[in-house]
């Protein structure tokens, strides 16, 4: 209708392949002169228009475009407002989630608060804009701190705080202030919110309690924003040397002999746990108090999976930090820890092969580290830009980091992003 020329992708592909074939034919020809003739002929045809480089330049607009390969836009320091390194690290991690970045930079947030100056999501939006502005001076997140103190009173106060606690609190406030950005409200399930936070962070943790007597299973699914993992050497300890390998097909990208890995911790997390005779649960099917086993698995995987290594231990009045080095992989496959995997295993079959193989694969994009002791310490973070560029963020100072720096760091909060949904 509009008489525009359309270039169909498939036909383009065919044309490209045909051209390549021709080139290959000409290059295999032994007749040099013939070759020259053919190539020159083709070149002529192609170059009648392309060699005139000046013409394209005249037509192209004079925009300043940059290749995204190595440049600093997207990285910006954050001033420490007084023991706020924990907040700065979480902000760095959040501002580098591609989906969240797209959401805020395309202004998809519609404020629902009565006074927008109190809306934390609005503040996150301006924070994203500040972080991606290309400015080289560090940003001062004082408004964010103020709003957090207002909306999450348990965090208010000038003192050192826990980054994980801050993460949960900020996600909670963002969730409350978003309510339902997509506009779709599910009336039948008031707990199901479709805000951007839920879309990105909420996973489903399935808890199966099996009665030892009648073997009936009682299942509950709880939403979760993160997974807190016990470490070897803690009171809820496990021996990393002999991990319970129920599933032999676990891919161990992070396995270093003798050193516990994130996968080990996840296996421990999803192990069947005997609850013991002191914790008998009333079974609904056989109506009696029986011993049971409980097992946790992932029912629904979030887009961004946050793993919290429980390095701070409270035993009675004793509090200590566990410094055990845990190796973690750049890529993580969550398939072995899924509820569906467990079910199919129990049914005596292989894991379902119909699912897309990459669906459960994650790649690491942020690591938050704690340096120091329980009483006094400092948080820094490693952030990934592009596919493999890592940067160390220490409040206002951002430096380039190597993969070794990253992989040998202690690790406290690990952020993984589902593959396939990343842009880069």
């Amino acid at each position: 209708m509009c008489k525009d020329y359309v270039y169909d992708k498939d036909i383009e592909q065919i044309a490209k392949e045909t051209k390549e074939k021709i080139l290959r034919l000409t290059s295999t020809s032994t007749d040099v002169s013939h070759q020259q003739f053919m190539t020159s002929g083709i070149e002529d045809k192609q170059s009648t228009c392309e060699t005139k480089e000046q013409e394209p330049k005249l037509v192209k607009p004079k925009k300043k475009r940059r290749k995204k390969s190595v440049y600093t836009v997207g990285l910006r320091g954050l001033i420490n407002l007084g023991n706020t390194c924990f907040m700065n690290c979480i902000v760095q991690a959040l501002t580098h989630i591609p989906l969240l970045k797209d959401f805020f930079l395309s202004d998809k947030h519609k404020c629902i608060m009565t006074s927008p100056s109190l809306c934390l999501v609005c503040e996150m939006s301006s924070l994203f804009h500040a972080m991606y502005s290309g400015s080289r001076t560090p940003h001062i997140p004082y408004k964010l701190l103020h709003l957090i103190w207002i909306h999450a009173e348990h965090l208010a106060g000038y003192r050192q705080q826990d980054a994980h606690e801050f993460l949960i609190a900020i996600l909670d406030v963002l969730h409350r202030h978003s309510k339902d950005d997509s506009g779709v409200q599910e009336a039948n399930n008031p707990n199901c919110c479709n805000c951007i936070i839920d879309q990105i962070f909420t996973g489903g943790l399935q808890s199966d309690v099996t009665c030892q007597a009648c073997h009936s299973v009682s299942t509950t699914i709880d939403p979760c924003w993160d997974i807190s993992l016990d470490l070897p050497g803690s009171c809820a300890t496990f021996d990393s040397q002999n991990p319970e390998r129920a599933d032999g097909t676990v891919s161990r990208d992070d396995h270093i002999p003798g050193i516990p890995s994130l996968t080990d911790c996840l296996q421990w997390f999803t192990r069947p746990e005997h609850l013991g005779s002191s914790a008998k649960i009333k079974c609904n099917s056989c109506q009696s108090y029986q011993e049971s086993t409980k097992q946790l698995t992932m029912k629904k995987l979030p887009i961004v999976a946050c793993f919290h290594l429980k390095r701070f231990e409270h035993v009675g009045k004793q509090r200590r930090k566990i410094n055990t080095f845990i190796s973690f992989p750049l890529e993580l496959d969550m398939t072995p820890f899924l509820a569906s995997t467990k079910e199919s295993r129990m049914k005596g079959g292989q894991p379902p092969a119909d699912c897309v193989p990459n669906e459960n694969k994650y790649s690491l994009f942020a690591v938050i580290n704690h340096h120091g002791t329980l009483e006094s310490g400092h948080y820094t973070s490693f952030i990934r830009q592009q596919k493999d560029q890592w940067f160390n963020c220490d409040d206002a100072i951002i430096t380039k980091a190597t993969i070794e720096d990253l992989l040998y760091s202690e690790g406290y909060l690990l952020f993984y992003h589902k593959q396939g949904l990343e842009k880069d």
Binding site: E55, Y71, K143, G157
Partner: protein, 366 residues
């Protein structure tokens, strides 16, 4: 071909025009269309702008990877002066102090509630309106009030009980007996030229110096080994600062020591001359004979260069001593100056580092 059969002459103008137009269009199309299609295809397929990068702009945003610099090529730790505006009180606060400020501003900290309670208590007592809230916040923000509270408390407990100034007798008498164990760490503040300054935290109103009238010879000697000793013109008291006190010169100190502890030969003139604040020439001559003695060798190493001989070194006794001459009661000092010989040994008692070379000199003299 039809075209060959035609001849241009047989055509009228309009047809010629048409032919010319057609030829022209063909030529233009030939030259442009190919390019147009290229660009159109490139834009449609999305690769038109692919290589179009601006090198200058690329450089601006390039990542820097050098030790000591961040990725923007900036030096670390230059952001100390960043400021922000507090959303609560709309004041400009240093960014790195924002969190503690906000805590107080919102009334959240432990101290804030304590101060608030205290204020409430005060206002109840004094029946005052709490209009000074802002002021109090100011104080809080500076953390100075805390500091001053602490300091004030500390000062009261920090007084050196051994200090001669603490001696009760000091407050009542005009003069007092100096503890022979007068330490050389008397932390006293008083202004130069003897002006009484009450910034002294120990709040001595009477004297900020020592009256030498009642001092015994031993006391004087020991005093002079540890203190400046220069006598203030106004208060007629000896300076109790350290031997290197900046308010008095070494000349003055030397003069004082000569005056008190010099060789006995000096005495008669000393007595008479000490009536006024200026030196008579006769006195200076007498004193010159005592020039060998370096009054306080621990003043500075450079002072130890005093010669052994009795040459007139021209210490400028006139000028210096005029400021610090004694008052009427000088006769009592005669006994003091007579026993100058012990001075060398006194010097050895001095705890201060520069080892006095003059004891040897002095020994020679005596």
């Amino acid at each position: 071909m039809k075209m060959e059969e035609m001849s241009l002459s047989g055509l009228d103008n309009s047809k010629l025009e048409a032919i010319a137009q057609e030829i022209y269009a063909d030529l233009v199309e030939d030259s442009c269309l190919g390019f147009c299609f290229e660009v159109h295809r490139a834009v449609k397929c999305g690769y038109f702008f692919l290589d179009d990068t601006d090198p200058d702009s690329m450089k601006d945003f390039e990542i820097v990877d050098q030790p000591g610099l961040d990725i923007f090529g900036q030096v670390f730790n230059q952001w100390k002066s960043k400021e922000c505006v507090c959303p609560n009180c709309s004041r400009s606060i240093a960014a790195s102090r924002f969190a503690p400020h906000l805590e107080k501003c919102l009334g959240m900290g432990r101290n804030s509630s304590r101060i608030a309670n205290r204020r409430i208590a005060n206002s109840n007592n004094m029946n005052k309106s709490e209009s000074d809230q802002e002021d109090n916040d100011d104080i809080n923000d500076n953390d100075w009030s805390y500091g001053s509270e602490k300091k004030a408390k500390k000062r009261k407990s920090d007084k050196n009980p051994n200090s001669p100034r603490r001696s009760k007798s000091l407050k009542h008498k005009n003069g007092f007996s100096v503890c022979t164990s007068a330490s050389n760490t008397l932390p006293l503040l008083f202004s130069s030229s003897g002006e009484l300054s009450n910034s002294d935290p120990f709040k001595y109103n009477n004297s900020t110096g020592i009256s030498y009238e009642t001092l015994g010879p031993e006391e004087l000697r020991s005093l002079l080994t540890t203190q400046c000793g220069v006598i203030s013109e106004h208060t007629k008291k000896m300076c109790t600062r350290s031997l290197r006190c900046p308010q008095h010169t070494d000349e003055q100190r030397r003069t004082v020591r000569i005056y008190f502890l010099g060789p006995s030969a000096v005495l008669p003139e000393v007595e008479s001359s000490l009536d006024n604040d200026s030196f008579d020439m006769t006195d200076s001559q007498a004193l010159i004979s005592r020039l060998q003695w370096d009054g306080s060798s621990d003043l500075s190493p450079s002072d130890s260069g005093s010669s052994k001989t009795s040459e007139n070194q021209g210490w400028g006794l006139g000028t210096n001593s005029s400021e610090s001459r004694k008052t009427k009661k000088k006769k009592s000092h005669l006994s003091l100056v007579g026993t100058a010989s012990g001075l060398g040994s006194n010097k050895k008692k001095k705890p201060k580092p520069p080892a006095p070379p003059t004891p040897s000199i002095y020994d020679d003299i005596n």
